[in-house]
Structures are given as C-alpha cells and as structure tokens.
Amino acid sequence: MIDSILLPALGVVALCATLIVVISTALYIRLNRKYVLLSDENARLKKSSEEEAQKILDAAHLHANEVIKNATSQAQKILSEAQSFDTTLRNHALKVTTDVISQENQAVMHVIDEVKKTGQAAVSAAGQKFTEEVSSDLTQFKSGLEGEFKKEYQAITTELTQYKQTKMKEIEDKVASMLERILTKTVASSLTRADQEELVKKALLSISHEYES
C-alpha cells in the first residue's frame, strides 16, 4: 500500500527535477550560444569596446549564473518540497498504515474475542450437550439395564412357576393315581352285591332322568 502511493510521488518529483535541470541546461546552452554570437559579433565588430563587450559578457555571465542559481535553487526547493512531501506522505502513509494496522488489529482482536466468546459458548454448549448426551445415554443404559433385568427376572419367575406347576402337577397326578388305586381296591372289595345292585338301580334312574329332561 505504501509503495503504491510513494513510488508514483517520487517519480513525479524526479521528473520535475529532471525538467528543471534540462531547462537550465538548455538555457545555459542558449546563453552560451549567445555568448558565442557576441564573441563573433565582437570579433566582427572588433571595433567595439572590449570593455563594453566584457561588461556585456560579464552581465550575461552573471545573468546566466543567476538564472542557473535560481534554477538550482528552484530545483532544490522543489526537491526539498518533494522530499518534504515524500516525508509527509511517508508519515501519512505510515499513519494510515498504523491506523489500518491498528484498526485491523482491533478488528482481529474483536474477531478473536468474538471467536473466543463463540468458542467458549460453543465449548460450553458442546460441554452441556455432551453432558446431556452422556446423561441421556446413561439414563437409557440404566433404563435398558432395568428392562433387561426385569425381563430376565420375569423369564426366570415364569420358568420357575412353570417348573413348579409341572412338578406340582406330577405330584398331584401321582397322588391322584395312588388314591385312585387305593380307592379302587377299597371300594371294589368293600361293596356287597346288594350295594352293587343298588348302585345300578340308582344309575339307571339317573339315565332315565337324563332322557326325560
């Protein structure tokens, strides 16, 4: 950015100085020619007064010197101004640059702060989210574990109940079978013929009632 401002300015200044030198040189050459002409004139005239001629030459010489001096002075002034401008420009550029850097630095700092804040917020949010997720996962795991435990417990309970029922049924069947055998033998041997006939009669009455109904 500095180079883009400074270099063209220096170029302009250099150009101006060069122009001044060129003009001065051209003027000098012109005056020199005039001097030559005057010399020629002097020679031609021969008769002119050498003093007058000398005066004219001196005057011309002085004038030339003055012009050169003025030109030099002007050039120096321009150069000085150019230098001053250059310094000012440099200072200005430096200031602008410093300001820009400062602003950019501030902006960067602001951005860094923002990023930091956002980052902190994000980290905090992420942390909270992570905590929530972990908590949720733990709750789910706990719930799942409880569910599995309940399921297993129920399965075991059901299995035990079924086993118990099966065993109880087996025992009941054995008891019933035993009772049946005992009762069969006891009843068969204890009933008299009269009892048997009475049983048949009662059974027949029951059959009769069954058909009547």
Partner: protein, 144 residues
Amino acid sequence: MNPDIFIHLKTLDAFYDLKTALMQAQSSMYRTEGSQVLLNSLLASYPYLSDLSLTAENLSEVIKQLTAQVGGVELIRAQLTVEPTDALITHMYDIFKTIVKRPFLIEVSINKDILGGVFVEIGGKQHDFSLLRLVKEEIHTNNV
C-alpha cells in the same frame, strides 16, 4: 312272529340261551321220536314260546325267524360289575323301555374295572354312571 318275545327274553344272552335250546331240541327230534315230549319240556322252560305256536315241523323256521328278528332289534349295551339277577334285569328292562320305544334287547357284560354302577350305551350314546367315574371325578376335581 310276536314282538313281545323280546319282552320275555330281555337280554341277548337269554336269546342265545333260547336259540341254543331250540337248536338242541331240533337236533334231538331227528334222533328220537318223542318230539312232543321235547316240545313240552321246552315250553315248560320257556313258557312264552307258547305264543309262537311251536311245533316239531316249524321249529327250524322259528329259529330262523327269531335270529332274523334279533338282527333287526336295537341293542342296549350295559356293563356291570356283578352278574345281574332276573329281578335286576327286569328292572333295567323296564327303565330302558321308557327310553327306547322300539323292540330292544340288553347286551349285558361284566366289567369289574368300573367298580360299581353301570356303563350304558343306547343308540351309540354312552352314559357313564360307573363308580369309577365318580371316584376319578372326586379325586381330580376336588383335589383330594
């Protein structure tokens, strides 16, 4: 032939007894000449045969008719634990007569396993009034 013969017979066993007696009588008549004596003896044992106008000549025909008739009557199967007396058979027949309205005979069989009571099959329908069923029901339903 008079269908009342089944009222007299009552059981299938009685029919087989009668048939056997008739066939023996028939056989005897070929060997002896005292056929009337045999017939009188038969009628004495089975008085209801008098309704059949039984003669030495129609004896064979009577046997055939009786056999054919028994093949067409309904059989009521009854299982008992003791051999029934005539009185019990009569009682059974009277009871079944109120149930079955056509000629029938009782086929009695002895089955000690039913412990007591009777197991009857009428027209393919079974009626278990045995003591065995009562005992089993008592044991299994009341969790004795």
